[in-house]
């Protein structure tokens, strides 16, 4: 955190000044470790074992916040008797379908709900990253559940959890992660003893946890701990994703993701959501409880915002104009499609995949096989110059004179050169003024898209084709100003906020959205940011002039609520759990919820409220159902649906690992997304033969001194000089073993590429003794490429493409490699070296990556990627800038 979020880290230091104890778990000793009280080196990719150990520690010692757990979680809920655990199936859950490499989740349901599982097989969900399409809101399940408040029922979630994690003992943690038992126990103790009625603990994570083939389950395990300890919905608690680029949170709210529309409305699927009603019902689940019940109003208002007068209840608000998904349109699938010639044009905005995305060679070969490529960026980045200045040019795989891609480079205005909002990890929108004019031809994105749309519409004005209606019917009437006719960003924010169509009056709450076409809302969760016609995101009242929640700084969605599920900060009767931690509570005299924050509950619904028989939607939420977006109103320790790789987290080895999974016969995540493509490959891992060809683990992350793919730091002298060369960090032991010398050169070889780097021998890296053997980990920054003041080989060239099934994020934190002293070969000799390694590792074209490595599945190896209902549908040509983030 100190490395990548130094400004946020000031608060950790502040907490430390006040006596907090800081633990840092990381494969290498970082700037964060340097100021932490306790540093725990961990074998990369094994956090679920560590966190599972903490879960076990809590359960075995009954350290959970029992009243909270009983009242607000599904611990007492009874699960179907058809459910079988990984403990029974050697690493698989019940319902695994080897043919699609995915789960039929019906056996994971609550007892009595088996038939409700709308999904029977999740391969398609994976392709469309649909499992978590509601993001923080979870998938609804029917309300009435069977519960055992004593938590003794063998099939209640609590007992299932206990059995599931029973083998995650301190010994096992040591064996899997390389963390000694006493250090582990110190961590577990500190976590548990700083939670409960009087204390809360926050969990902060970032991409060290997400970029794994089991990334989502990392976070799930953290969520289980935080829920057991009563750290959710309470001040000082929570799970915080430290985001990456400014407004990465904003770019999932108003998404740049292919499977989402603004406000987490899912992108319709061509087969499943033929009509507006199909689509809306798939979101609101008629008859179920929770706030998604109103989705029809959100959806209608969104379409109304898009297509204005043309969108009417009669024509389903132009639902037909919405594009549909046909399968996996993720950024990695697209790159493979480019290589296969299925995509011919591409817009690239604010992204540098030639350096930043896994499997750099695939990225560049893909872009080199387009007809045209538009790059809008601040700098001339590698993704715009790959055709003349990439490793593939050196090896002869790309010949500049013959490269067919026509690249258009358009200079972009930076964030200080345009106005707008950033949304950060707390869902806080903060308005940003323009500080300086952009230089030369540089223009904002807003300018670019507005004028591009305007010109396209002008060109198509006379078009008789129905396909052009979607564009021509758009409301496209933003006021502009200045010499370049810059559209007003405030006007856009106003549209996002939503307004009454008849009067133009801005809405002040999403509850005002209507499904009859009388409201237009660009992003329903943002409704209120322009309440009363005032830009609420621009509020900057000093923290000294308001209480500690600082509700008048910026604006947080939803409804300016700073902490979600804050009903849980009070006990079931609505009283604060403790005076110290009081936040939101029921005021019986006033008959309403009150407190420091905007209550995440219906204001006047008393704690004693019980829904009438047959109620649905908001009405069905009981007065003590704190987790209002969940179908059962409870926080899920066990997730009956929504998570594609299991209702509980289980430790799987990374897709590339030198180790056999010490816990299960199942080596790696059986539902991970594997792309079998000639350009892509995975280094062998046990139990496959030849894994010794790539004996070392490498992990890749950030340096404080550089930014991501380097476009914004390698080009800036005061930054570039701080870390002027690509390097690899190795322990003195590994240096001795591999013959590396400090400041000498080394080259690293994977099944995809070979890169070179200067060597830094440092004790900050340490060999780990795990499961009876020594594992060496190397560390690389991924900021280097061929452009800029300082250049170097790209770490991402080493990676292949393997994704988490839920969100299709790449496993780019960890891979296996070999390391050799000296510089790498150049030209064709480089390709020969890689080919030699591939030969020795058995990475032949015929080889298929073994997905299932346990007999428990009762089937052969599974295919990696199949959309069972639309398998035949070929991917469309989509110009889409996707990519996963924290």
């Amino acid at each position: 955190m100190a490395e990548a979020h130094p400004v946020g880290f000031q608060w950790v230091m502040e907490a430390k000044r006040r006596g907090a104890k800081v633990f840092h778990v990381d494969p290498r000793f970082t700037r964060t470790s340097a100021v932490a009280d306790s540093y725990l080196p961990i074998r990369a990719g094994t956090d679920i074992a560590l966190l599972g150990g903490v879960v076990r520690h809590i359960l075995e010692n009954e350290l959970d916040f029992r009243e909270y757990v009983l009242a607000y979680t599904n611990a007492a809920t009874i699960v179907s008797d058809r459910f079988a655990d990984t403990e029974d199936l050697d690493g698989l859950f019940s319902g695994y379908r080897p043919d699609t490499g995915s789960y039929d989740t019906s056996s994971w349901q609550y007892a009595g709900h088996e038939g409700h599982a709308e999904i029977t097989g999740t391969g398609k969900e994976r392709d469309s990253a649909a499992g978590l399409r509601h993001e923080s809101h979870g998938m609804p399940v029917p309300a009435p559940t069977q519960r055992d408040e004593t938590l003794q029922h063998p099939r209640c979630v609590y007992q299932i959890l206990r059995r599931h994690f029973a083998r995650y003992t301190p010994e096992m943690v040591e064996r899997v992660c390389g963390i000694p038992q006493d250090k582990f126990l110190e961590l577990a103790d500190a976590w548990a003893s700083n939670s409960g009625r009087e204390r809360t603990g926050a969990l902060v994570y970032s991409v060290g946890w997400t970029q794994h083939s089991v990334g989502v389950q990392y976070i799930r395990t953290g969520a289980i701990i935080q829920t057991l300890l009563g750290n959710m919905g309470r001040p000082g608690g929570g799970i915080l994703a430290l985001r990456g680029h400014a407004s990465i949170q904003g770019s999932t709210d108003i998404p740049t993701l292919y499977n989402l529309l603004p406000g987490y409305l899912p992108m319709p699927h061509h087969a499943d959501h033929e009509t507006f009603d199909d689509w809306v019902d798939s979101i609101r689940h008629p008859g179920q409880k929770g706030f998604w019940g109103n989705s029809r109003a959100y959806a209608a208002s969104l379409l109304k915002a898009y297509w204005g007068d043309a969108a009417t209840p009669e024509n389903d608000f132009c639902y037909g104009h919405l594009p549909r998904m046909t399968g996996d349109h993720g950024t990695y699938q697209q790159v493979l499609n480019m290589i296969d010639g299925k995509i011919r044009g591409y817009f690239l905005l604010g992204q540098n995949p030639a350096v930043g995305s896994a499997h750099g060679r695939a990225q560049r070969l893909g872009m080199a096989n387009l007809d045209w490529l538009v790059v809008r960026d601040l700098f001339l980045i590698e993704s715009a110059t790959f055709w003349k200045n990439s490793p593939e040019v050196a090896t002869g795989e790309i010949v500049p004179e013959q490269c067919r891609t026509e690249v258009f480079f358009l200079p972009a205005a930076s964030h200080v050169e345009k106005e707008g909002t950033f949304t950060q990890t707390q869902r806080l929108l903060q308005w940003r003024e323009k500080a300086v004019d952009p230089p030369g031809d540089a223009r904002s994105e807003l300018w670019f898209f507005y004028h591009l749309g305007r010109r396209l519409r002008e060109k198509l004005a006379a078009s008789p084709h129905p396909r052009d209606r979607a564009l021509l019917d758009l409301t496209w009437d933003y006021p502009t100003h200045g010499p370049h006719a810059e559209p007003s960003a405030e006007a856009v924010l106003r549209e996002i906020n939503g307004y009454e169509v008849a009067t133009g009056r801005p809405l002040s709450a999403f509850a005002q959205a209507r499904d009859d076409g009388s409201t237009a809302v660009g992003c329903w969760i943002y409704t209120g940011v322009y309440a009363d016609g005032v830009n609420q995101a621009a509020r900057r009242r000093s923290r000294h002039e308001q209480d500690w929640v600082a509700a008048q700084w910026g604006w947080a969605w939803p409804a300016n609520r700073r902490t979600l599920y804050n009903r849980a900060s009070a006990d079931p009767q609505g009283r604060p759990w403790s005076e110290r931690k009081k936040y939101v509570w029921w005021d019986p005299d006033a008959g309403e919820w009150t407190g420091y924050d905007v209550p995440d509950f219906e204001k006047t619904k008393p704690p004693t409220y019980r829904p009438p028989e047959g109620a649905s939607g908001v009405e069905a939420i009981a007065g003590d159902d704190a987790f209002v977006m969940q179908g059962d109103g409870k926080a899920w320790l066990f997730a009956p649906s929504g998570v594609l790789d299991g209702p509980l987290p289980a430790h799987y080895e990374p897709a590339e690992s030198p180790m056999r999974n010490p816990l299960y016969g199942q080596q790696a995540n059986p539902t991970r997304k594997v792309y079998e493509h000639p350009v892509n490959s995975v280094n062998p891992s046990p139990p496959e033969a030849h894994s010794g060809v790539f004996p070392y683990v490498f992990t890749v992350s950030r340096l404080t001194e550089h930014h991501t793919a380097g476009g914004m730091s390698r080009t800036v002298r005061p930054l570039a000089e701080l870390q002027p060369e690509m390097f690899v960090e190795v322990s003195p032991e590994l240096a001795a073993e591999a013959g590396l010398t400090h400041l000498g050169w080394a080259h690293l070889v994977s099944g995809r590429a070979v890169i070179e780097a200067r060597v830094l021998v440092t004790e900050r890296l340490t060999p780990l003794r795990v499961d009876g053997r020594v594992i060496h980990q190397l560390w690389l920054p991924y900021h280097f490429g061929t452009e800029g003041l300082v250049t170097g080989d790209s770490a991402n060239d080493l990676f292949g493409i393997t994704l988490d099934p839920n969100v299709l994020i790449q496993e780019s934190k960890i891979g296996t490699c070999d390391v050799r002293p000296g510089r790498r070969p150049t030209g064709p000799a480089l390709l020969d070296l890689v080919a030699d390694y591939r030969r020795r590792a058995g990475m032949t074209p015929q080889r298929r990556v073994p997905i299932v490595t346990t007999d428990a599945a009762g089937g052969g190896d599974a295919a990696g990627s199949t959309d069972e209902r639309s398998a035949g549908a070929s991917a469309d040509e989509h110009e889409h800038d996707g990519g996963g983030d924290a």
């Binding site: 003195p732 240096a735 001795a736 590396l740 010398t741 400090h742 400041l743 021998v761 440092t762």
Partner: protein, 337 residues
């Protein structure tokens, strides 16, 4: 663990002291820590021309004394050689000084202030007095070549008197010119210069005398060279005594003066000085031997100046010379409570 790389962070170095003859620091700690072996101080950015300046400045001072002595005791050969050398040397000095500036065009900024805390400022003002005086004195030597009449005739008549006065002014300033440079070097954080502050002016005074004497030996006939011989002896004595002190008294900080290039230069200086003095004494009647001795003394002076200069630079470059004595001081203070 035998790391294949230079250990990062603190680093331990071992060294032995020589026969530390000084009052303290006879047993410096055996180990010291530093930051990647990097210098703690910034070594002087002065280039070779400052070392050369030390020599020419001394030479100018020494020869102006020689000239004044010659003037007062009626040894015209000494006077003439002294005055001419003095002007040449002080001119060279000025060139070296200006040349070494990062911004030579701003030389005159030196004259903005007069700062007793800045030996360079003091030196500037000394030079400002000495230089013109030495110049006038030298120009006066040209009087005999001037025509007898006209405006220049006036010069011819007046010049010798003015020259005599100027020569005395120069001579009066000369000891300051010769010795302030010792303070110039000592008044820095450079360990082996600073700690040598009691000796540096003496060495430089001796070296200046010896080089002035060298000029006398080279230029004057044997009959007039007596004072130059005696000046050589006195100068050599001061120089050798001082050099011996800095090479032995400073404990660890003497090391840079004994080793490496500075060590070789100072040894050469000593040898040449000794040879020069012996030659001067032995060559009372030999113009050739006197001349050779004079040359030896000049060379000795050059060697000594460069030796002292580089010895200091070397002491600033290696952090041990900064850290060890200071650490010893701290420890001693701590021990004293």
């Amino acid at each position: 663990m035998s790391a294949p790389h230079r250990p990062v962070g603190d680093r331990f170095r071992r060294y032995r002291t020589g026969r530390g003859g000084g009052e303290q620091l006879t047993v410096p700690p055996a180990e010291f820590t530093s930051y990647y072996g990097r210098p703690v101080l910034k070594p002087p950015v002065w280039k070779w021309d400052i070392a050369a300046y030390l020599f020419t400045g001394g030479l100018a001072a020494g020869s102006s004394l020689l000239a004044a002595g010659g003037q007062l005791t009626g040894r015209p050969a000494l006077r003439r050689a002294g005055r001419v050398t003095s002007l040449a040397a002080v001119t060279a000095s000025a060139y070296f000084l200006v040349n070494d500036l990062g911004r030579p065009a701003r030389f005159h900024h030196m004259l903005r202030v007069a700062k007793p805390t800045s030996p360079m400022s003091v030196g500037t003002w000394i030079l400002t007095v000495f230089g013109p005086a030495a110049g006038v004195a030298a120009v006066a030597e040209a009087a005999p070549w001037l025509p007898e009449r006209g405006a220049l005739g006036v010069g011819r008549r007046l010049l010798p008197g003015v020259g005599r006065a100027a020569g005395l002014v120069a001579a009066a300033t000369a000891p300051a010119l010769a010795t302030y440079t010792g303070v110039l070097l000592a008044d820095t954080a450079v360990p082996s210069w600073h700690e040598a502050y009691p000796e540096l002016p003496t060495i430089f005074a001796g070296s200046a005398l010896a080089s002035g004497a060298g000029v006398g030996l080279l230029a004057a006939p044997c009959a007039q060279a007596g004072p130059a011989r005696r000046m050589a002896v006195a100068g050599a004595a001061l120089e050798l005594w001082g050099a011996h002190r800095v090479e032995t008294r400073l404990g660890l900080l003497s090391e840079p003066y004994r080793t490496g290039v500075p060590g070789r230069l100072l040894r050469a200086g000593r040898t040449l000085t000794a040879a020069g003095v012996l030659g001067a004494l032995a060559g009372r009647r030999s113009r050739l031997l006197s001349g050779l001795s004079g040359a030896a003394l000049l060379a000795a002076s050059v060697a000594t100046r460069f030796g002292i200069f580089h010895g200091g630079v070397a002491s600033a470059r290696d952090p041990k010379y900064t850290v060890v004595p200071q650490r010893a001081r701290v420890d001693r203070r701590a021990a004293q409570g």
